[in-house]
């Protein structure tokens, strides 16, 4: 019986022989991550455990990306707490200020995570790195503290739902639409306790950043990981990020899946997730007469350079509708600089956008664009639960960067081709 991506990666990190899905294994980890809102609890638990050193100061990575640049006094105190811990533990990769970006965009870009790794992070969107072939999953702060101390954790080896991709995405259709379509089909618990494994000829037509967008939202279907094969495109990306020696990774032809869902990318149109669940998905053309107040383009889902390029394509020579706030948040300093070089920031400014620093900010209702009662936002983020971006009586619609940009111009949700 063939092996899938899950077993192939995990087997390298455990002494026990993986005989079946559902088996519980003790597993070494390559990287352990936390951010400014999850690290404080992890540090507290670390101390209570009686630990004195982290298992490897090169492999515990701390990124202060959520409530930064410091949102208020309490947030500033939290960041200070994390900074002091990083200093005491002599953590090599501590990010704050000018070198800091949204973690799940920053770490692939800097080559700190990559193919065949097992990555655990105190953030549910750690699954993003599945896009570059890492078994990457979110855990709570105390689980992360245990991993910081021991360099290992335990997993139930998940069974996999196979997602067979064929065809290629048309104009204005991207990775975001693939994953929204899938979540719409299987529901927010459709992949509960399972891995999503993507395969088929459609995979190589997706850019690596698009694959990360897809993997990023595996958790929104309840998935443990969202795994992609590692092909030539992945290796090229990783080389560009400064990595050496990565290997390809493909599932066996006869790998077993609990079930297989097929998606023909040729037939996919832009998708929108309506309030208040990521599974409430429609074709954008079915969404009529939804007037909006705000648009956010950014986040670990869609804040990368390819996303900004798509948004700029739509916004070039156009203006944001009066009364609509467009907020653009390039996800890392590297992306910010590149967007500047390529003239994208000028396009955004000419259109009337607000351009902010790399931060998670509004995605989780932190800062940099919170919604008032009755307001509606189209966002390239990953969650639209009630109150996610502000007032309980506000609404968030999830979409790709092209739809977000077009909606900012039209003042309502619209297919970019109809502008």
């Amino acid at each position: 019986m063939g092996k899938g991506l899950v077993e192939k990666i995990l087997q390298r990190y455990t002494q026990e022989e993986i005989k079946e899905r559902g088996q519980i294994i003790r597993c070494k980890v390559s990287k352990v991550l936390a951010n400014d809102i999850t690290a404080p609890l992890a540090i507290k638990s670390f101390r209570e455990m009686g630990a004195e050193r982290v298992f490897d100061r090169e492999r515990v990575i701390l990124v202060c990306d959520h409530f930064t640049p410091n949102k208020d006094i309490d947030s500033a105190q939290q960041v200070k707490f994390v900074r002091e811990f990083a200093r005491e533990m002599e953590i090599i990769h501590y990010f704050e200020g000018g070198n800091c970006g949204v973690e799940h965009a920053l770490l692939p870009e800097t080559g700190l995570v990559g193919p065949w790794e097992v990555v655990v992070g105190a953030d549910s969107h750690t699954c993003t790195y599945g896009g570059i072939g890492a078994f990457a999953t979110g855990l709570g702060s105390t689980d992360i503290a245990a991993a910081m101390v021991l360099g290992e954790t335990w997993f139930k080896v998940p069974s996999s739902i196979g997602v067979y991709l064929e065809g290629s995405c048309g104009e204005f259709v991207q990775g975001k639409d693939v994953i929204l379509f899938l979540i719409g089909k299987i529901g927010v618990d459709g992949a509960l306790y399972r891995a999503l494994e993507f395969f088929g000829p459609g995979v190589e037509t997706l850019g690596v950043e698009s694959r990360m967008t897809v993997a990023n939202m595996a958790i929104e279907a309840g998935g443990k990981v969202g795994l992609f094969p590692v092909d030539k495109r992945t290796l090229e990306y990783c080389k560009g990020a400064g990595r050496e020696g990565d290997e390809m990774l493909f599932p066996d032809e006869d790998a077993e899946y609990e079930k297989v869902i097929s998606i023909n990318l040729d037939e996919l149109s832009p998708q929108v997730a309506l309030p208040h669940l990521p599974e409430n998905v429609r074709d954008v053309d079915e969404v009529k007469d939804i007037k909006i107040d705000q648009v956010v383009i950014g986040s670990c889902t869609n804040g990368r350079i390819s996303d900004l390029r798509e948004a700029a394509r739509v916004l070039k020579g156009r203006k944001v509708k009066k009364g609509v706030r467009l907020i653009v948040l390039p996800a890392t300093p590297g992306i910010w600089r590149q967007a500047l070089k390529e003239g994208l920031l000028e396009i955004f400014l000419d259109a009337g956008a607000v351009i902010g620093p790399p931060t998670c900010g509004p995605c989780l209702g932190g800062h940099m664009g919170i919604l008032a009662e009755g307001e509606r936002c189209v966002a390239t983020t990953n969650r639209n639960f009630k109150g996610r971006m502000g007032h309980l009586e506000s609404e968030v619609y999830l979409a790709n960067p092209s739809v977000a940009a077009a909606s900012a111009v039209a003042g309502e949700i619209i297919h970019p081709a109809r502008l």
């Binding site: 519980i24 809102i37 999850t38 404080p40 609890l41 507290k44 638990s45 209570e48 455990m49 009686g50 630990a51 409530f67 208020d72 309490d74 947030s75 105190q77 939290q78 105190a122 953030d123 549910s124 979110g138 855990l139 709570g140 702060s141 105390t142 689980d143 503290a145 245990a146 101390v149 021991l150 335990w154 927010v188 618990d189 509960l192 306790y193 958790i219 309840g222 443990k224 669940l277 989780l364 209702g365 932190g366 969650r383 639960f385 009630k386 109150g387 996610r388 309980l392």
Partner: protein
């Protein structure tokens, strides 16, 4: 481990933003977090809770963000046990790590009413509904999770491991 308490019901897909909104993630203190428990569902919800009460929920309880503050807020509010149709996986681990027991019941949750008084035997896998005079079983809580609860959570578990190294 035997738990007795009065039931409060919530619905399906209660996410961790509902359990504890992001703006409260500026403290690590359970009682402080407890004061805002379920504020993302309904402001002032926590006022109905007495220490030892049991929460009963629909499918996919605790979905969304991995924030450990979610089980902490429930513990801080005085909730002794959560019974749900099903749990999101990160929340499941976090709850046991924090010492909050969970019972996954499937459709059986529909038989439990708001205000019912329950007696739950965790190791034995039995629930007695004292109000309705009904009794039923539930799937075994994995041995490893029971061990975590009996040790008082993951911190104690790791403390022991470090001492034995």
């Amino acid at each position: 481990m035997k738990i007795k308490g009065r039931v409060h019901r919530v619905g399906a897909h209660i996410d961790t933003d509902a359990i504890i909104p992001a703006r409260f993630l500026v403290t690590t203190d359970a009682s402080e977090l407890g004061r805002h428990c379920m504020e993302g569902l309904e402001p002032g919800w926590v006022k109905r809770i007495s220490p030892g009460d049991i929460l009963v929920a629909g499918p996919n309880f605790g979905c969304g963000s991995s924030r450990e503050h979610a089980p902490l807020a429930l513990i801080g509010a005085g909730i002794s046990l959560v019974i749900a149709h099903s749990f999101a996986r990160i929340f499941y681990r976090n709850a046991f790590n924090m010492g909050l027991p969970l019972v996954e019941l499937g459709k059986g949750v529909d038989q439990i009413g708001e205000g019912d008084v329950l007696e739950v035997d965790l190791e034995g896998g039995r629930i007695i509904n004292k109000t309705k005079g009904e009794e039923f079983g539930f799937p075994q809580v994995p041995a490893f999770m029971l061990e975590l609860l009996n040790m008082g959570g993951l911190v104690n578990y790791v403390k022991k491991q470090l001492r034995e190294r």
